[in-house]
Amino acid sequence: MIAELGLLALIIAFCTAVVLGIVPLYGSTQRHSICIAVARPAAWVQLVFVSIAYGCLTYAFLDNDFSVSYVAHNSNSKLPLLYKISGVWGAHEGSLLLWVLILSGWTGAVTIFSRTVPEEMIAKVLGILGLVSTGFLSFILFTSNPFARQFPPVTEGRDLNPLLQDPGLAIHPPMLYLGYVGFSVVFAFAIAALITGRLDMAWARWSRPWTTTAWSFLTVGIALGSWWAYYELGWGGWWFWDPVENASFMPWLMGTALIHSLAATEKRGVFKAWTVLLAVFAFSLSLLGTFLVRSGVLTSVHAFASDPERGLFILIFLIIVVGGSLTLYAWRAPGIRSVPGFNPVSREGALLINNVLLVTTTATVLLGTLYPLFIDALGLGKISVGPPYFNTIFIPLTVPLVIAMGFGALCRWKKDTFARLRADLSILLLASLVAGGIWPLAMNHYSFAAASAGTLGCWAVFTAVRGLWIRATPGRRWRGLVQTPRSYWGMTLAHSGIGIFVIGVAFTTIYSMEKDLSMAPGDRISVGRYEYQFDGVQNLPGPNYVAQTGTVIVSRDGRTMARLSPQRRRYLVQQMPMTEAGIQAGFWGDFYVSLGERLDDSGRWAVRVHYKAFIRWIWLGALLMAAGGLLAASDRRYRSVVRLPTREPAPQTAPDLTG
């Protein structure tokens, strides 16, 4: 009964989305005020009914309703509560429902947070979001119904994929989707502006907080995925350039380019046509990511053939979105003018360099991800494109990007000179060189690669902090810092995050140690300055698995540093073996141990022992970027026109010249 209710709610939501996609768009072109007024209520009705449908599916999970096929395939009566809730998005049908729920949520958010935007514009934006919802809701209803019953019903479910039974991965998809889907709002604003032909600075200002918020969620989502891979897959890696990872990384790169291009468009009225194009691409890459992951076209060509309907549906949807937007763009772009001039040495110039490098990187990742497919389709054989390729291309493109970033943060808009910047830049460069050069001395061996990366990372952090310092007017610095707008603080945080990330990546790669060992209880082995002692393995039962838990004590000079419990689990329903690494996290490095197999009857086990230097800096950097993004999106000036009477009066701020 509940499942049927859910399906009914989904059908009503679909009909509402169709209305939302047609009526307000018609109304705004015909200046028909009643049709325009339909937009906001329709957006809310859609959100309510998608929420009901989502609630019904969650209820079916909590209720162990195994007559619902999707629940039977992805749950089990012994599954812990958290994973029953997260199991809703554990597979194809449910994750699409989550996608639509988040899309409806963003649509609802647009009705609330865009009171400064004219009603006609909002009607267009909501209408375009309605069209996107129509596409996804029809995808669910026609190819991927999560409420389908199965006959005869089964008494017990097949359990959630054990890989997904983990808190990190439970919240990874919602974060990722908040980012992916958030770009649909930016896309809708861009298309609405293209329809009206008014790509002004106001449009850029409306788009900025949405872009930055979506980007921040995407950053958190990707970081969570990487963290999960690190501790769950048991081999201590944090990024593998897997097609599924690339699918989320491409919209992130494009979104990063878009954030910077939007800044120039809003502040100086330049790059308008380019910014629109980036907005279209960021959303298209989000859709492409969904297509690649959901159709199964990437992991195996045969999986695509086994379910061509779904893949084909998203592919057609993608073609309509990209084709339609580009046609509209080709029609409108010649009329777009970005008149103001600027010097190559200026913030606009630095932002252009940023865009060229980021777009080149995105295009390369896209090419590398799809190339094996093309080659296979053309009958030229099977090839693999993996980490060695991506690292070879990615690193040379990232280094100039970080250099340009530090330079751009200190540049003035419109016109600047090297002569003015020379003093600042040379001191900062010297400081970075010294700090980066000295740092590896504190490590167990000197590495010039580490020194270079340290210099680059310090350059990013130092220039970002220096920019903030200059921004706070001289003479009254502390007050100046308080009065510096949040968007500038956000930029400083995010740029520092890049620096910390760079250092984390390089130092993890260079200074991590690992050993594959065969250990009997009581054996000791030293890895670097640390001693690892193996204390044998015990059997422990879990809620829906049995586990063999090893004990490893890490000590340094006789002092115990950590007690690790690596596990091998066997999940009872799917009979799937899983490894759980034993990890003790630390600011300077992690102790990381994974348990292999038992080698003989005397209790000798295969053990992989790691010391992962600076690994936390990778995610710390990503979190700083996300925090910076959210801080920037909450800047007062995006809400400035609203000025609700209940809000306290804004303190006098210095005229905003740089942020």
């Binding site: 010649p334 777009i336 970005s338 777009v359 053990v607």
Partner: protein, 164 residues
């Protein structure tokens, strides 16, 4: 399809083992093998090699990270070849001759992959070219430098540039 592929690969592997004189049959007991090396340079060569070779029966994993039996066998094969004095190139060539380019995560440079390796350079050159043009056309910060008779032309140039 999958099982057929698997059968082919295991046959191929058996053939490999048969014809590789001096390579001992690997012991079948551990996923993480505690291996012995003569020198640390051998060990780092081993680690670099198994990180760049693909496990052929997995979704998308290298030999180093895979728990599959084939991956373990290929790891031990790599280990034995290193100990018996084969160079990295020889080991890679050996793998490619058995399993094709698919086994390499670093695609070799050849006609069918030329675009893959050269495209990033191409993208970057196009980007730099556009960048250069924009810099040149937008350079006139204060319009008063331009004589009034030329302003229309400048504006047209900037417009043209932007629409490309």
């Amino acid at each position: 399809m999958r099982s057929g592929q698997l059968a082919f690969l295991s046959t191929a592997f058996a053939v490999v083992l048969f014809f590789s004189a001096g390579i001992t049959t690997p012991p079948v007991h551990a996923v993480l093998e505690p291996l012995k090396f003569d020198s640390s340079s051998q060990e780092s060569r081993y680690k670099a090699l198994i990180a760049e070779l693909r496990c052929l029966v997995c979704q998308n994993q290298n030999l180093a990270d895979s728990n599959a039996e084939l991956a373990r066998d290929l790891r031990l094969l790599t280990h034995n070849m290193i100990l018996s004095g084969s160079s990295d190139t020889e080991i890679v060539q050996f793998m490619v001759s058995r399993y094709g380019d698919f086994v390499l995560y670093r695609p070799p440079f050849k006609p069918s992959t030329a675009l893959l390796w050269l495209a990033p350079l191409l993208f970057l050159s196009v980007g730099c070219f556009v960048l250069f043009r924009i810099f040149r056309s937008r350079k006139n910060v204060s319009p008063s430098i331009v004589p009034p008779t030329q302003r229309a032309r400048v504006r047209k140039l900037m417009r043209d540039d932007h629409s490309t």
